[in-house]
Symmetry: C2
Subunit: 151 residues, 2 copies
Amino acid sequence: MSKLDEMDFSILGFLQENGKRSYTEIAKLLNVSEGTVRTRINRMLKDGVFEFIIHMDPNKIGLNVQVIIGIVTKLGHQEQIATTLNQYQEVRFVGAFSGRHDLIIQAYFKNNDDLVHFVNKELANMDGVISVDVSIELKQYKDSFSYIENQ
Amino acid sequence: MSKLDEMDFSILGFLQENGKRSYTEIAKLLNVSEGTVRTRINRMLKDGVFEFIIHMDPNKIGLNVQVIIGIVTKLGHQEQIATTLNQYQEVRFVGAFSGRHDLIIQAYFKNNDDLVHFVNKELANMDGVISVDVSIELKQYKDSFSYIENQ
DNA sequence: AGTCCAATTTACGAAATTTGCAGAAAAATA
DNA sequence: TATTTTTCTGCAAATTTCGTAAATTGGACT
């Protein structure tokens, strides 16, 4: 995978503002041809630099209980547990971390019942889970996907 | 904002698999006209149900240090601190939570120096911050934006 | 400098998609 | 049942995407 140059970052910068921008539009903004923008976007997609997605507001689609859960696992069980967690649709993020918890996950549920079921029936029965700390989201202040400083 | 019906969820289901699907393609899959799909997508966009974005792989754009930080705040300072944190480009997520930490944030940095600077110079100097727990991401297992069970 | 090579960019036509509407159909309201 | 409102369909025009070939650029090596 080749290194990204300044034009690649500019393209990402425009796309992070609006994922629907056309090759044509970006090309005009950068003063290059449409084909250049297309080639670069396709290369970055192939290299897994980014992907086109939609970001849904969980509350607006009926997922009203959002949580972050820190998990302490028995030595040697982390990978297995992470793989199991991956399979739950409700779990949108799973990572291994240094610090107080070995795994931290983010998950979205329809309601408290579903959360309680997940914690007490699913998590509690996973082999190698020592303890879990559930933090329930009370208010979201920011959830941004614009990591690049642009312009 | 009107409630989403089954067709809206189907449309979201197709888009969450691939944010680049065209109105035309989705219309064929759902056996309705292109205009119907377009109207519904535009309504959902207007209502903030979802947005078209790109999801960049932080490692591939040079943000190699990813962290989750739990923050304990002095009573009454939470909102102010959250608002301040919002302004940092490095901080991609800020939420108020129940549980051990009052605020939990996710942030991406170029390197450890930038992280250390953020924690020791920025966070440490924010009024009302009592303590912070930094968890450094060692491995990411899942980072999905498909919350809807589809089909 | 001059030559060659590989990668990138440009150019352009064809196919596909989006966009703007107008009228039909369906649903909600009275 | 009549009326209003909303949703859906079907076009045509404008725009974008896509495939491809030609032109350009930037080194590496003489």
